[in-house]
């Protein structure tokens, strides 16, 4: 297991203090960028973006974060890379390090892919999503957005609704939010939110109405269309009825903070009007993603945020 604190493989192994310190750094960097624009803290450093799975949002966010710190990005296209010729992940990563990368950002469909690399490489490894396991920078940007919106996470209740079982976003949130003092409620159909998820130290409820009234914030997860009509979910209509956040439900909770890791299925887990309402923080999440990733780069490359 990677104990080297330069790595960020997951939030399950980070302390509450470490998480809060990254959020503080991200918030300082945000102030700095807003005031002075990009900096040159990481000038001359190279970060490799190894995205072995498709990604638009996370990849562009990591890219922008690097640019705003003056770092160079070594792009890596899985489709044309040597992994399609049968090279192992470890050899590909070693090649990238030999080519001069000072840090590696990895997204990989295998659970533990980032952990494995972190245990074998000399440079820091940042997990941008390993299968259904963890997506730590998403967990951090969600925490930052919630902290901004609620003032603190201490004593707050955050509900996460939808396909928890296949969600690395939900898992990273479940690891992080309780360490920052929040209570986490999960809701979803038994196929996607089974009772054993309570092992994460959270409460498992049934549907959105079981969590709506207690929650200070709610995070809606994207329902993947391929899950519908199979053995996991009967239909979109049924999902919307029991798990979707529609206008009527939102009106019951005018103070509720609404999050979504995007891309959204408007009209399924979140109504169009809800997604665009003033209670929706979806686009703030994306902006915060850049600052959180800047903070993570600084930590990985051992630069103090001043």
């Amino acid at each position: 297991m990677a104990r080297d604190s330069r790595h960020l493989v997951g939030l399950s192994t980070l302390s509450g203090e470490a998480i809060a310190s990254i959020l503080d750094d991200a918030s300082r960097l945000r102030d700095r960028v807003r005031e002075n624009g990009p900096s040159t803290d990481l000038a001359g450093r190279v970060v490799a973006l190894m995205f072995m799975e498709p990604s638009t949002r996370t990849r562009s966010s990591f890219t922008t974060a690097a640019f705003k710190l003056g770092a160079q990005v070594l792009p890596f296209d899985a489709a044309s890379s040597s992994t399609t010729k049968g090279e192992s992940l470890l050899d590909t990563a070693r090649t990238v390090v030999a080519a001069g990368a000072d840090a590696i950002v990895i997204r990989h469909k295998q659970v533990g892919g980032a952990h494995f690399l972190a245990s074998r490489l000399s440079v820091p490894v940042i997990n941008a999503g390993d299968g259904i396991h963890e997506h730590p920078t998403q967990g951090l940007l969600d925490a930052l957005t919630l902290r901004d919106a609620l003032g603190t996470l201490e004593g707050k209740t955050v509900a996460i609704v939808g396909d928890i079982r296949h969600s690395r976003v939900a898992r990273s949130n479940c690891f992080a939010l309780p360490k920052l003092g929040a209570r986490v409620l999960l809701a979803g159909p038994g196929t996607l939110c089974p009772p054993e998820l309570a092992a994460l130290g959270v409460e498992v409820r049934r549907n959105i109405d079981d969590v709506l009234d207690e929650a200070d914030a709610i995070m809606l997860l994207r329902i993947q269309r391929e899950r519908i009509g199979g053995a996991l979910l009967p239909s979109i209509d049924e999902y919307r009825r029991f798990y979707g956040l529609d206008v009527e439900r939102l009106q019951r909770r005018p103070e509720l903070v609404v999050l979504h890791p995007a891309p959204m299925n408007r009209g399924v887990e979140v109504a169009h009007e809800v997604a665009d309402s003033h209670q929706s923080h979806v686009f703030r999440q994306m902006e915060n993603g850049v600052y959180v990733r800047m903070a993570v780069y600084m930590r990985a490359l051992e630069q103090e945020v001043v």
């Binding site: 399950s12 470890l90 295998q110 659970v111 533990g112 245990s119 074998r120 994460l200």
Partner: protein, 365 residues
Amino acid sequence: MSRILRDVRVLDALSGRDERADVAVLGPSGDVDGRGLVLCPAFVDLAAHRESAADDAAATSGGFATCLGTPGLAAREEGPQRLRMAELTVRSAGDELADMGSAVADGAVAIGDGGKALGSSRTLLAALRYAADLDVPVFLRPSDPDLEHGGLTRAGSHAVLLGLPGVQPEAEAMGVYRASLLAKASGCRVHLTQLWSAQGIAALREVKASTPGLTASTTPLHLTQRPERIEELAYAGWARIHPPVGDDEDRRALIEALVDGTLDAVASHHRSVPRHQQDCELGIAVPGTRTQAATFGLVHRATGSLEVSVRVLTAGPRSVLGRAVDERWWALVDPEATWTVGDGPTALAGESVRGRVVELVQPQR
């Protein structure tokens, strides 16, 4: 020329003999202080792959003089006796019956598809009906492969925390019930392998007495390894074990079943996997661990009983095979020697074990 093992404890689970004696064995003359040592019939391994001479050395150092699993090499002076396993279905794919009659006529002593569980119950019943005439046991890993599909660790809290797809223990219990029902329907003698869950053991307890000839075994890894080990090994490929290892309750159930005889035997499932197939991410790794040398020590550590450990490695596997094996060799064991498994990156690296096989010896007749 003979060596005398002085005052050694002779523990023969086949005959029930348990006494201290001086035993003459082949070798350079001299006396060996046998106090603290145990002499028992050589171990029989119901599942061991052989890739190279290193595997013969592992078998011998683990006290195994007879191994089942790799197509037969003729009996040799050096190395263990290798017994042949015939395929149940072609390439173990579960679709068509293999030429098992010919394989048995040519010397195979058991039939099976390795760790693969058959998907089709219809094919399984047909295979067992066909095999019933051949008078050798059919080895099945009990599972519902559809329910098990894609799982990398035991379902439940560990799978949730590790973020890995889980295998429901119900898959094993369903496999046990299915195997028992079809064994009875076909009249075939069935041996269940690699039991790993408390649910599987509960099912086995329920059906064993009413299923003629049904026997079962587990493995040293399933008796000792924990799912948390996957995280300790940073999700590296050598942490992969299939079927998955269970939780504390599962391991307790396996140990109880060995003690009370519900489980007949422990088989090493020793397998040398090329490094490049395990020096990778967990989900794409080929499972397999070199377990033979440590098997006795792991079983002894898990069960805490010398008598049980000897029984499940000697009398147990012999009763499963139901035929004579090479009985020239006996295992000289130091049951309290503690040591640590080395041998490069494997699921067992750094594991401490209790008991070591000193050597295989041939008592003089």
